[in-house]
Symmetry: D3
Subunit: 228 residues, 6 copies
């Protein structure tokens, strides 16, 4: 699995992969049964971005960003690069030069289980990044990793071509084969939430809207009167 670049032209249809962003990482991960969510230490370097697209996966070595250059050639418009490191590292693997290159190739965003730098410039471009750290610390180009092999990034297993959904709340991963099914489930959740929100805004309680009082009572929830 080390030292390999898998060329991969398979991409989920554009209208499907692009539709996920509107639902957001929380709704999409719920639609999958509350799985496939990256660990919450991954944070956006600036707020307000919401993206979805197919993954170009990268396996990096600690303190070595060589494979990000190799990955650039595999990017197709709309892709999101997802990079893991073979060992925990906070170095600044990615900055404005690589961002310029990735953007020129059509990449939408980077998800990286390590550090990035040139935050100010990336925010101005803007080129959204979800990372574990922000660090000026530079890297070398000395050891092989891989591109488009299966990786684990921030606790989730990802294959090249899987769909990434990232926003201010986090990063969810949808296996390519389940894309249409999950999208349908996400759409259903989103449409249901609008009416719930309207009801709750009137002061109706979730206790009543979701009929929770009976199951709570069955489990033994007791209400104690005010202390006087």
């Amino acid at each position: 699995m080390i030292g390999v670049v898998q060329k991969n032209s398979k991409r989920v249809d554009a209208h499907i992969r692009e539709a996920f962003a509107a639902h957001g990482s929380a709704t999409v991960h719920e639609a999958m049964g509350r799985i496939n969510l990256m660990l919450p230490y991954l944070r956006p370097i600036f707020s307000g971005s919401s993206v979805s697209g197919c993954a170009v996966t990268v396996l990096l070595q600690p303190g070595d960003n060589w494979m990000l250059h190799v990955a650039a050639e595999q990017i197709q418009p709309g892709d999101i690069v997802v990079a893991a490191v073979t060992s925990p590292c906070t170095d600044g693997y990615f900055g404005d030069l690589l961002a310029t290159s990735f953007k020129a190739r059509g990449a939408q965003a980077l998800i990286i289980d390590a550090g990035v730098r040139d935050i100010k410039t990336l925010s101005e471009m803007p080129f959204p990044v979800w990372s574990k750290a922000i660090s000026s610390r530079g890297t070398v180009k000395a050891t092989l990793g891989s591109v488009n092999v299966p990786i684990v990034c921030a606790g989730v297993a990802i294959n090249a071509g899987d769909i990434i959904v990232a926003d201010d709340d986090g990063v969810a991963v949808v296996p390519a084969a389940l894309a249409a099914t999950v999208l349908a489930a996400a759409e259903k959740r989103t449409s249901l939430e609008a009416s719930k929100r309207a009801t709750l805004a009137t002061g109706v309680l979730g206790l009543d809207m979701y009929n929770m009082r009976e199951p709570l009572a069955k489990l033994g929830l007791r209400y104690l009167e005010e202390q006087t």
Copy 2:
């Protein structure tokens, strides 16, 4: 203590509980003798909020947000919900639907020793939250906790009705019985700080303003001349 909802209509007088926000968490915690400050890993999900109000306390189970729905019914206008988990958890217990419900009931803010989601919507409402994490990860509704029982949130013991003071610097807790006393002490500190600030702005040193030179010398502080 599990499976109980204490109805609690006792609230510190509005003019007292509302007056704390103007002083801020740092001044209020100093006024109590530098205690009752939540651990600094609790951070606001957006900056610039400053609130004070009475606590509705919630004890949650890991990965289970059921009791937040139960707590909603106990909220009175101006309240701040304070939620602890029986075991460390970063899941996203709270999002825009619950925020809509809490806001409709009059809640000012949420303090939660866990994660929240729908950050973008919460920022737009705005509904201020101080949390340990931001996470899309959803929760279930399967296990009882409690409402308005004594809890420990981020290192501080809190009872229902205690006053919460939260801003960009952190979250302080004032026991209800001490509210008036602590407020008076906070007001005194705030008024003293204005004149100190003016003096320091002229270039006068704290060393002189606070008469520190003598005690420092007594302890043996030595000044070494410039190396040439």
Copy 3:
């Protein structure tokens, strides 16, 4: 080393120390051979600041900010105060009063391996701070530390008068004796990056611009054709 204030009037020439800010912490740390970068847990309390200046070093005791008052007297215009604690601590050692005093003495910024408070006021002044934590928690004035002695702050050894370069990416330290050499190297790197950025923006790959294909092949990188 405890209980000492070293008076120190040596400062690197203003035109040199001020020139570093334009290059940023990432470029400067690369120019030194990728060393002397503080650990990335130090973060700016607000984004967008970029400073460079000579260090006034401070060694603090846990929960005790007395030496910051002693340090204020040693500040010269343009200086950056760099504070370490003898044991890990997240307390709020520094707030708006000390910031007013430091600013009146001409300090540009504070780098502190501990916590700060009054974030809102510091952001409005503005007085930039890079810190390990934000915390309302106050400190005492009871135990001696030192000023302008050698310290280790966030993993880097620093002497009074060394140059600090801090921005959104982190904090780099340039030993005073190397200032001119490192500045020249940083300037060279900055000028080279502009042309690289222009080339990459056209879609040229780093693989080609840096002639990486041959060394990658020598190490055995294999390209696998698309799976069909």
Copy 4:
């Protein structure tokens, strides 16, 4: 709450407080409804100890162990000293001299949300300690804390006289007023476990012993046949 020593001669009856150790922290915390367990970062400095006794509580300042000396005078035979710090700290507050003193006064153990040192000697005495850290770092005696006031240690609220149950699994706290009730519940759990253990040892599954198959099926658990 700062600067106070509450003399406290109330101790739960010896036969009750001593009986808890046989059940262990896990059983006791279950007997309370799975609450009042200290956070698992507290670890014993050596393995194999199992103690229960009444708490002498101590509130310490960061980097300052003065109140441990004050607490020594309040120790009665069989007591367990429980120490919290007003702000997170890993310093070595306690070593062989204090252990000698505590032991001479009859203390059984120390629970401390900070660091300790002289590990080798403490292990040889033996004087069991559950701590957050091991650190040579010494402390000063400069600032007041309190003894026998309510504290929060490692996430649990404790009053002087509460019962501490500590072993290799962790540290549980039983409020003094609930001691007899919780002990009875713990004894019941312990006696039930013996027969369960015997059954499981024969190869009977928990699925059958606890009648889990039906509720699992109701929730929809599906068994997929072997892949061939």
Copy 5:
């Protein structure tokens, strides 16, 4: 993927899966190209164990150990249970009762990305466990997870039937399909190490044994004479 138990009778041949333990996690992970090693926060609860066997995978919900009971039925002699949680959790999912059951079914060990309890009894049995935490904190049985589905445990993707190699240094995972190949590579490494060790023990330097002097010189390593 939630709510599924995959029956799985495929096991790598006993003579292969058992042979890995002799080589250890370090050698095996090197033999795979330095990948598939679990993150080092997983630690054995007692030292000195060295095991290898086929994985029964379990996906648990936070604070809920129900699926460990379901997994027990799927254990075959020599298996190693590997459990992940859908969200980070340190609760004590596993204790002496489950260990008795697992052992009766023939399990060798447990690898769990969460907490365990009853450490003393597990050490006496002995039943080796590699875990993220030790915690008395109990769990509920309320929400479905899965058994023998693909999981990510401590940063590594694992399928049911993959080989686990665990010792005092950590936990490595060998995909079932690569078992024979990796074992051969591990054997080769182990045999080479013996002669290297003998050479180094005589005082021969790695610099000479590995012919490192020339490549170091080419990269520019300079030797400075002693300072006098």
Copy 6:
């Protein structure tokens, strides 16, 4: 500072450097004024070792242990190798082969701000190591670092030839130039502690032995009578 090996034959006299071990890291760091103690995350891989000796310093790159081989040649009998990494890393830089080589050269121990492996063998040799992590994860030999340059290890600045004092409590560093002075101060502390221990063992309180009652009263410590 990168790419340099400083040959260094200066060693503090054997009778001085060897005498430190008897006093231990806690006493030695107190004798220096409570400074120069490495951060407590460095822990011994097995307990019971107590060493002192002169430092051979090593600066490593992330995931690259090449310089440990270079350092081996610079070891003199009784030395302690102290290794820092230019960026945080938990990889297993050191195992039984390097330990065999270091031991053959006369090294007493390794202090490393990273991970090590082959724990079982190192414990059997025994070759004591204080490290940040235990990890099977291997390293490469691709990038230059340095030997015997000034480094920062676990928060302390160290020069080649400085004295390291390490035991179960932690790791202290004594600058070579201060060796005799610090040793004398440590001896004084050690001899004083014996009589204090004897006094405390009789039940005399530190409050009385150290005459603390008066200063405590002056600061306002109040004793509250027992609650009845």
